[in-house]
């Protein structure tokens, strides 16, 4: 099992999301993935986070619906791929 250096994380306001996908391409480490079938109460797909976030804020800058809260870890963490919830 491999690990990924993870410098940051995000909180996502899933209910505010309109499923536009802009964050997916904007994310430099490409750690955001849209749901396929799962939708919020308004019927929109929304992004989910994989290990490897750098806390760069690109998602927050590009999101038209202000869905992201971005945190940087004080010390980077190693997260195991396949180990998360």
């Amino acid at each position: 099992m491999s690990t990924v250096l993870t410098r940051g994380t995000v909180v996502i306001d899933v209910e505010a999301c309109k499923g536009c996908d802009l964050c997916i391409d904007a994310c430099p480490p490409r750690v955001l993935e849209m749901t396929v079938h799962e939708v919020n109460t308004r019927g929109y797909r929304f992004p989910r986070l994989l290990p490897g976030c750098t806390g760069c804020q690109a998602c927050a800058w590009i999101c038209p619906d202000f869905c992201f809260q971005v945190y940087k870890y004080d010390r980077p963490v190693e997260l195991s791929v396949g180990d998360a919830s």
Binding site: G8, T9, V10, V11, I12, D13, V14, A16, K18, G19, C20, D21, L22, I24, D25, A26, P28, E33, Y44, R48, L49, L50, P51, C53, G55, C56, Q57, A58, A60, W61, I62, C63, P64, D65, F66, C67, F68, Q69, V70, Y71, K72, Y73, D74, R75, V77, L79, V81, G82, D83, A84, S85
Partner: protein, 261 residues
């Protein structure tokens, strides 16, 4: 797949917040603009720049009429709502009456270039010490995607169904270029919000424009290319590339003029 990390709660220890959902100067982040709209992205850049230069308690926004008008009654800066096309003259009156304020306008391409072109040109020519922001998506978004003066040749809109044809509909106006020619203009730039790098560059332009006003150097202007997937009739993930291939070739991002440079 079960690699997904929890994103519903903030980390409890060992982390610090670097970006909070809604910009501080926006009362309510929720809005009724379409998925993938570029205007809230530009709005965020403007609001953050007002904070960054420490001018919040002197800021007055004059807002035009377009989709972005949805923000005019939930900004936490004082707002003077203008008529379609008329924001620059209102901004002029505000600034002349209260020179110590930071006065900015938010207009779209339909508002500024179609309805009110002479307003912004004269305001620039006067060297009026205000900052105008134009959110340029090349369509009247609010009416559902109709041609504006900045629509690219070939671009399909609801009243140019076969694409804008120069013989029938004329050529697009590069308004930043027109403004840059005027002696009263101190700072003129064109940014875009179709990717994170362009957003970062646009934020710098916005800040520089406001600083130009604070320095009393004259008229400052930033055109911001924004996505309108609804009015462009493209899927939201395709809109950033559509901006690059359709609008950006004629409205090229970059700094056109900076008297401080």
């Amino acid at each position: 797949m079960s690699d997904y990390l929890p994103t519903d709660v903030a980390p409890t220890v060992g982390a610090h917040l670097v970006d909070d959902f809604t910009p501080t100067l926006l009362d309510i982040g929720e809005h009724n603009l379409c998925p993938g709209c570029g205007e809230p992205i530009a709005m965020r850049a403007v609001l953050e720049a007002i904070e960054a230069i420490g001018a919040v308690s002197r800021a007055i926004g004059v807002i035009g009429i377009g989709c972005y008008t949805a923000f005019s009654n939930n900004l936490d800066i004082e707002v003077l709502q203008a008529l379609h096309g008329r924001a620059p003259s209102l901004a002029t009156g505000v600034k002349r009456a209260k020179p110590e304020t930071l006065v900015l306008t938010i207009q779209g391409d339909g508002d500024m270039v179609n309805e009110g072109l002479q307003e912004v040109l004269h305001t620039a020519a006067r060297g009026e010490n205000v900052t105008c922001f134009m959110l340029d998506n090349g369509v009247f978004g609010e009416t559902g995607g109709h041609m504006t003066a900045t629509t690219a040749l070939g671009q399909r809109t609801k009243n140019t169904l076969d694409g804008r044809d120069a013989a029938q509909h004329g050529f697009p106006i590069r308004v930043s270029s027109l403004i840059a020619e005027l002696d009263g203009a101190a700072y003129v730039a064109r940014g875009a919000v179709n990717n994170a790098g362009n957003v970062a560059r646009t934020k710098k332009m916005v800040r520089r424009a406001l600083e130009t006003q604070e320095a009393g150097l004259g008229f400052s202007f930033v055109e911001i290319l924004t996505m309108c997937p609804t009015g462009w009739f493209v899927e939201t993930p395709e809109a950033p590339e559509y901006l690059t291939s359709t609008l950006a070739p004629i409205h090229a991002p970059g700094v056109l003029k900076d008297v401080r440079a």
